[in-house]
């Protein structure tokens, strides 16, 4: 579950970003964008702890792509600091979002399968 915890931490960073980078020229729209995206990411990471919605973390990928799109479709290259922050945050979020919940354990299907085969004395 460490990937979910790190997603949560990155979402906190995103929510704090308006107070760290220069957002004066960007207006309140971008600030609101950060807060909404951070809330969405936190929600998805949090919901993944609940078994019926354990794959919710994959829904972080569209949010990350949105942030990346904001940076890549900005008129200036490289874009202002808030957008550069999006590039870093979105790449790390995408890498984290594909990490399974119990990453250090084998996939549940494999654990069950090999256990069944072993019980049949079939190693």
């Amino acid at each position: 579950m460490w990937a979910r915890v790190m997603e949560f931490a990155l979402a906190c960073w995103l929510a704090l970003s308006p107070f760290i980078f220069r957002y004066e020229d960007e207006g309140y729209g971008l600030m609101a964008n950060d807060l909404v995206c951070a809330l969405l990411i936190m929600t998805m990471a949090f919901l993944s702890f609940w078994r019926p919605l354990e794959k919710a973390h994959f829904m972080i990928i569209p949010v990350a792509l949105w942030l990346m799109g904001l940076a890549f479709f900005h008129e200036s290259a490289p874009p202002p600091p808030p957008y550069q922050n999006y590039v870093f945050v979105s790449i790390i979020l995408i890498v984290l979002a594909i990490i399974p919940n119990y990453a250090s354990a084998p996939p549940r299907s494999w654990a069950e399968y090999s256990e069944n085969r072993k019980q049949k004395g079939d190693y």
Partner: protein, 213 residues
């Protein structure tokens, strides 16, 4: 059935098998933590150069080439890369090394068989990106005629990461190839195997190509 938790599998010998062609398990924790440490050092160095490119620090430490480091980090090549990446190239490098750390630490000690997609992702980030970054650094020296000590250090670390990472990627590749051949190219089973879903063929191939320590 063994509960699906973080405990249990660590002591099970089935999760510490040795795949061909190695005399050790390339997915073992020792090796993967070593990769994470090397990538971590590279991330810190890149981050330091990134701070300079972002204008947060005034100078860059260089014991051999003096001001050449700063010329490399503010060169036209570097500016062009920053326009493509949308962030300074050293910051992009740092991001890639952090991605390496995340991808190397995920997965069990038998992930070469149980999660080939994860090993493939890790291999894709480490091997081609490592070669690209090495080429870029070498190019800066050859094209600009100027060298940057810390850039060279990260280039060497990138190559070290490739050397450390490739054994696991190779075992995963051999496993996928054998599953492909055993099934006569059954795309559905090959895809399932790649995505980490079990099947009789995948189970048997995995056992045939590995031995217990």
């Amino acid at each position: 059935m063994r509960p699906h938790t973080q405990t249990g599998h660590e002591i099970d010998p089935d999760y510490h098998v040795i795949p061909v062609p190695w005399s050790y398990n390339p997915s073992r924790w020792g090796e993967r933590v070593a990769i994470a440490i090397v990538a971590g050092v590279a991330a810190v160095i890149s981050g330091y150069m990134g701070l300079f490119q972002l204008g947060m620090i005034e100078t860059v430490w260089d014991p051999f080439f003096g001001d050449q480091s700063m010329s490399v980090l503010t060169s036209e090549v570097s500016h062009a890369l920053s326009r493509w990446f949308r962030i300074p190239d050293a910051v992009m490098g740092m991001t890639a090394y952090i991605a390496d750390i995340i991808l190397v630490l995920a997965g069990s000690t038998r992930r070469w068989q149980y999660r080939p997609w994860l090993v493939a992702m890790f291999g894709l980030v480490v091997i081609p990106l490592g070669l690209v970054s090495f080429t870029l650094v070498a190019m800066q020296g050859v094209v600009l005629g100027m060298w940057c000590f810390l850039c060279l250090v990260t280039a060497v670390l990138s190559l070290a990461l490739i050397v450390l990472a490739w054994d696991e990627v190779w075992s995963s590749w051999l496993y996928m190839r054998r599953v492909w051949m055993e099934t006569g190219g059954d795309l559905r089973i090959v895809r399932d195997t790649f995505m980490g879903r079990p099947s009789d063929v995948a189970y048997e191939v995995g056992n045939k190509m590995s031995r217990r320590p």
